[in-house]
């Protein structure tokens, strides 16, 4: 029962991920939180695993995606285009993972730590595919909301391509999708090209 009590307490701790706000917008026009993002990206894995570069163990992909953001409960979310913050974030997230996973029974703690490390380092076909999806979703949502969060942060096409180039390592087919979406966003005028100081609205 002690074991079960710890697991249930941890489940309640995880509830806090529902309050971590991301920069992305849902199609209904509000900021997305990290818990619903984690669901969306896990469902994406179910739908898109056939497009992974290498064959993947779907269970491993789902487990990684379901927990990939839980460190944000302690460390907060970092915007993917904020380069400075991203570097400091790495150390903060590692400490957060240690603190959080220590709440679990030892075997589970080790399992979660391994999943999180594998995802963070992209050291397996499963991790690389999972990372591709984690990149793809914000691009999809941005294009579906006419670049709302890109516009708010003055993000340019070259940045989107640079930050998402690793999609190719997990799925060449999805990298092709990202490139097409970026070109479409530029053509429709809601993603600035280099040289432009701001994307022309409308």
């Amino acid at each position: 029962m002690e074991r079960l009590s710890r697991e249930l307490a941890f489940l309640l701790t995880l509830d806090r991920l529902k309050e971590v706000q991301r920069q992305s917008y849902t199609l209904a026009g509000r900021h997305e939180n990290s818990a619903e993002h984690s669901w969306h990206v896990a469902v994406a894995a179910m739908l898109l695993s056939e497009h992974a570069k290498e064959p993947v163990n779907l269970l491993r992909v789902l487990e990684m995606l379901l927990i990939h953001d839980v460190v944000e409960i302690e460390a907060g979310d970092t915007y993917v285009y904020d380069e400075d913050a991203r570097k400091k974030q790495e150390e903060k997230e590692k400490q957060a993972a240690e603190k959080l996973f220590a709440q679990l029974p030892e075997d589970q703690s080790r399992h979660w730590w391994e999943l999180w490390q594998e995802f963070s380092a992209g050291t397996s076909p499963e991790a690389r595919f999972a990372r591709s999806l984690d990149r793809l979703l914000p691009v999809l949502l941005n294009v579906a909301t006419e670049g709302r969060s890109w516009q708010e942060h003055g993000v340019r096409a070259s940045q989107v391509l640079a930050r998402n180039a690793e999609v190719a390592a997990g799925s060449p087919a999805l990298w092709e999708v990202v490139q097409k979406l970026v070109a479409e966003a530029q053509a429709r005028g809601f993603l600035a090209s280099d040289g432009e100081t701001q994307a022309p609205k409308g």
Copy 2:
């Protein structure tokens, strides 16, 4: 590419689950939505599968839980203690599933339909365990928020026990947890016993 386009369009349709509001409250005190609930219950499966009544294929459990509520995009959420609404809801949800899953490539459509049917009917150890978790989470959240949604709907202990009795079919250990939580909620005065018209607050 036609196949991939359909999958991506469906992913964007699924975004709408983030706007389906449930009666449960998050620990931060706002209504939970069905997308973040689906994440929470999937993570619960990762943590608690060792307590399933029979050995379960975790991948199957996760896939069922990730999609179990997507029909609500079309059919809306029904409060678990609203008996009349629940009966009408069954037919509505079946129609919603048909409509939604028809958007997928045929093999995927069949896979999602099978997962959803298996979950709804509780016809496998995986489905019964998944259903246990889907029942457990609202009870956990209710107790952690001093019975907030129970109080709002005048729900009594006997109703909570009756509606959640099927937890035992998926996990006797979790059914024991539910019974203890109900007793605790009664003792602490935020879940009415039979005979009381309303739970005494405080």
